[in-house]
């Protein structure tokens, strides 16, 4: 199965040690952006939302507001 570029991107970011140490998640559990958005882990979900909303051409303010609301 072909990996979508945004999923590849998600995996490379979630596999950063500093991030998974901080977010306390297992990076191998999240293969797609959809997996990440649906996650209970707020860091994983925030990364998923940023990638998803960026690829759908949302503005930075829109992404910020959405992720901020999610993190509240």
């Amino acid at each position: 199965m072909n990996i979508r570029p945004k999923d590849k991107l998600l995996q490379s970011v979630l596999h950063e040690v500093s991030l998974y140490s901080f977010g306390e998640y297992d990076p191998d559990e999240f293969m797609t952006v959809d997996d990440a958005i649906d996650s209970d882990n707020e860091v994983v979900s925030a990364v998923g939302r940023i990638i998803e909303r960026c690829s759908s051409d949302a503005t930075e303010r829109e992404i910020y507001n959405e992720v901020c609301n999610h993190l509240r």
């Binding site: 970011v13 991030l19 910020y64």
Partner: protein, 719 residues
């Protein structure tokens, strides 16, 4: 993109449409041709085909085969066409052409142009714009890593300092990660502002937040400055390193140049010396050095002949006169038998004859003439005749035929200039002749040295022409500049080290301040929440930065790994070293460096080492881009192996053929030249290669001064 077939029609020396090349899809195709046999034109036909700028159209008429033009009649039309058939997501074709018409003996007019592509879906063939198909299958960025003219062009990394950086941007995920890093930085800034605002609104943390915020701003400003300085120093270091590399590269050239310059100096000195001997002021020498007398022997000879002839004629006429006057007796005494003219009466003169009679010897013929002998009687008679003649002349002067003695005077004059005077002048003539021969010989020497100077200067020009814009001054400055460049480079690197330390210190300070900032405990719950949100954004932003860095590192590691694999393959029996892909920290420029396994830099790799190094990197780039884009592209080289030894050529081509990568090499390797027949033939070793080989060569019996007689003949000599 895998090239299947190329057809060239009427493009410069490729006359007609029989110029077809079928390529090996996953290995080497070798196209062998000697100098001037159309190797570069082959590559330029491809460049022309791929050129989508309007610029190329300006020179289109220059691309028409001169032979074709010359064979057309006025009003006739034909076309120039280059076509490639290739595989790229199916079978495709790209076709560039223009139609031209001969409008008079020397002129053609371009009538129409076409640039089209065709796609085959197995059943149908559909037409697509040439630009679109080219962009889709072989875009400009890829072409930079695909077509190479000559060995020096392989070094795309030094010629274009941004080349590898662009490659990284285009063929890794860096561009996407850069974009995300930028977005998450903005998100983090927004979160930081919101957090900062809340902290400053909180009575407990307002003062500390304000102070920390200002300190962080200050540190960030300092870090920005330091980063700029690092970029400058990296650029300096790179510049001096490039200059040092160029000096090392040109070391051999400098030695050759020194030898040529020394030769030029010696030849010029010899020329000056020879020339100095040839400087003669003919005006002065002609008179002051009596060169004018050079012609004396010839003139004297001529004069003697003429005066003798006049004298003879006068005597003849005088005899006739005497006969007429009845002086028979006198005549008999003086005449010689058989009508031979006797000597004139005044020769020898009176004194000489008296001397001969008294001494009883004939000093004309050198024989003794004792008293009573016939010879003595002859001399006596001759003397008497002289005296009678003298008397008669005085007595009968009025009656004589000739009233003046000009002929006698001339004759005497002629006699007086012969003998010792003539010998003296002949000697002078010999001296002048020797001198003139010496001058002529020196003139020939001067000419010879002048030619030698000219040849040495030509050799120097050819050598400098190979240096791609490096001037002679650049090369000759090397001795002083090496020290200067080294000191400047060392200085730049020392400063770079100091700046990196400073940056690292500032980074630590920034982290400490951020830590202190994050530890601020506001009373306001909203501020606390914004703090947590900011922290998440901050970590996400740093994770994107780090992912970008990891991606970049992985890409370059993979490039280095693959390059080294190819390098080992291309240099099975030679020392090949290890390729290091070095990225500068701030400018992010990338250099390709050759190192020994023990970490030492190979400071002056040979030309063939450099060629295999660059080709290895190009093969690696092709492999990586093929993996990333899931499509291949060919590597096409014109004369890449001019620095290779004969043994290395064969080995090299066999290895390239086995790399499983489409590669087309146009070369004059594998040819032997027969000086007697003035022809080149393909070596036997070429036939042992397992790749297809084409021979391109000029059709025989061309006129070297007439382009319209030049035509390239393409022959497939091996499948």
């Amino acid at each position: 993109m895998i090239l299947r077939e190329l057809t060239i029609k009427n493009f410069r020396s490729y006359y007609g449409e029989e110029n077809k090349f079928v390529f090996n899809p996953d290995g080497l195709t070798l196209i062998i041709g000697d100098n001037g046999d159309g190797k570069t034109t082959f590559l330029e036909s491809l460049e022309w085909l791929f050129d989508t700028t309007a610029m190329h159209q300006r020179n289109d008429s220059m691309n028409i085969s001169e032979m074709r033009k010359s064979r057309m009649v006025v009003g006739e039309e034909d076309e120039v066409r280059v076509t490639i058939k290739f595989d790229h997501d199916g079978e495709k074709e790209l076709n560039k052409s223009f139609t031209f018409k001969k409008i008079d003996t020397n002129r053609v007019q371009i009538i129409s142009r076409e640039f089209v592509g065709y796609e085959f879906d197995g059943i149908q063939r559909s037409q697509v714009s040439g630009d679109i198909i080219l962009k889709r299958c072989f875009d400009a960025e890829i072409r930079k890593y695909s077509l190479f003219k000559g060995e020096t062009q392989l070094d795309i990394f030094h010629q274009d300092s941004e080349a590898l950086k662009r490659l990284l941007t285009n063929f890794s995920d860096i561009k996407r990660l850069d974009q995300y890093a930028e977005i998450t930085r903005t998100l983090n800034d927004l979160a930081a502002k919101a957090h900062d605002k809340e902290l400053k609104n909180d009575k407990k943390t307002a003062t500390a937040a304000d102070m920390l915020s200002r300190q962080m701003g200050n540190i960030q400003e300092q870090m920005g400055n330091i980063r700029r300085q690092i970029r400058d120093q990296e650029a300096n270091s790179r510049t001096y390193k490039t200059k040092l590399d160029a000096l090392v590269d040109n070391r051999d050239v400098k030695e050759k140049l020194d030898a040529i310059n020394e030769r030029i100096k010696n030849h010029e000195e010899q020329y000056r010396r020879a020339k100095s001997y040839t400087v003669v002021d003919y005006n002065t020498s002609l008179l002051d050095e009596s060169w004018i007398l050079c012609a004396f022997p010839t003139i004297l000879d001529d004069f003697q002949k003429k005066s003798s002839a006049f004298s003879k004629e006068k005597r003849k006429q005088h005899n006739a006169f005497l006969i007429e006057k009845g002086k028979q007796e006198q005549l008999r005494e003086l005449s010689l038998p058989d009508g031979i003219s006797n000597l004139p009466w005044y020769m020898p003169d009176e004194k000489s004859m008296e001397e001969m009679v008294n001494e009883e010897i004939c000093k004309v013929c050198g024989r003794k003439a004792p008293k009573g002998s016939e010879a003595y009687e002859f001399m006596q008679n001759k003397l008497q005749a002289f005296l009678k003649h003298k008397k008669a002349k005085i007595d009968t002067e009025v009656e004589d035929l000739f009233t003046s003695n000009y002929i006698e005077e001339l004759h005497n004059f002629s006699i007086s200039y012969s003998g010792p005077k003539e010998a003296e002048i002949c000697q002078l003539f010999e001296v002048i002749k020797d001198r003139l021969e010496f001058i002529k010989s020196r003139q020939e020497d001067a000419k010879k040295w002048e030619n030698a100077v000219s040849e040495a200067k030509d050799e120097k020009s050819r050598l400098l022409a190979q240096l791609n814009g490096v001037s002679e001054d650049d090369i000759m400055r090397s001795a002083t500049d090496v020290r200067d460049f080294m000191s400047r480079r060392d200085d730049a690197e020392r400063k770079l080290g100091e700046l990196k330390l400073k940056l690292s210190d500032l980074n630590e300070k920034e982290n400490e301040l951020e830590e202190q900032y994050s530890l601020l405990k506001p009373t306001n719950k909203e501020a606390e929440r914004y703090g947590r949100i900011h922290n998440v954004f901050d970590h996400i932003y740093k994770a994107f930065l780090s992912a970008r860095e990891t991606n970049r590192r992985n890409f370059l590691n993979r490039l280095a790994e693959l390059s080294n694999q190819y390098l080992s393959k291309l240099n099975v029996t030679d020392f090949h070293g290890v390729i290091e892909i070095y990225r500068h920290q701030e400018s992010e420029n990338i250099d390709v460096i050759l190192k020994s396994e023990n970490g030492t830099y190979v400071t002056s790799p040979s030309e063939s080492q450099k060629t295999t190094m660059y080709m290895s990197v190009l093969f690696a780039i092709a492999k990586i881009t093929a993996d990333l884009r899931e499509t291949e592209y060919p590597l096409i080289f014109d004369a890449p192996t001019s620095s290779f030894s004969e043994m290395k050529e064969t080995e090299f081509y066999e290895i390239i053929n086995k790399i499983q990568k489409q590669c087309i090499i146009v070369t004059k390797d594998m040819l032997t030249y027969d000086a007697e027949k003035k022809t080149s033939t393909i070596k036997d070793s070429a036939f042992e290669l397992s790749c297809p080989i084409y021979r391109i060569e000029k059709e025989k019996d061309f006129n070297p001064n007439d382009l319209s007689t030049i035509r390239v003949i393409t022959t497939k000599i091996k499948d």
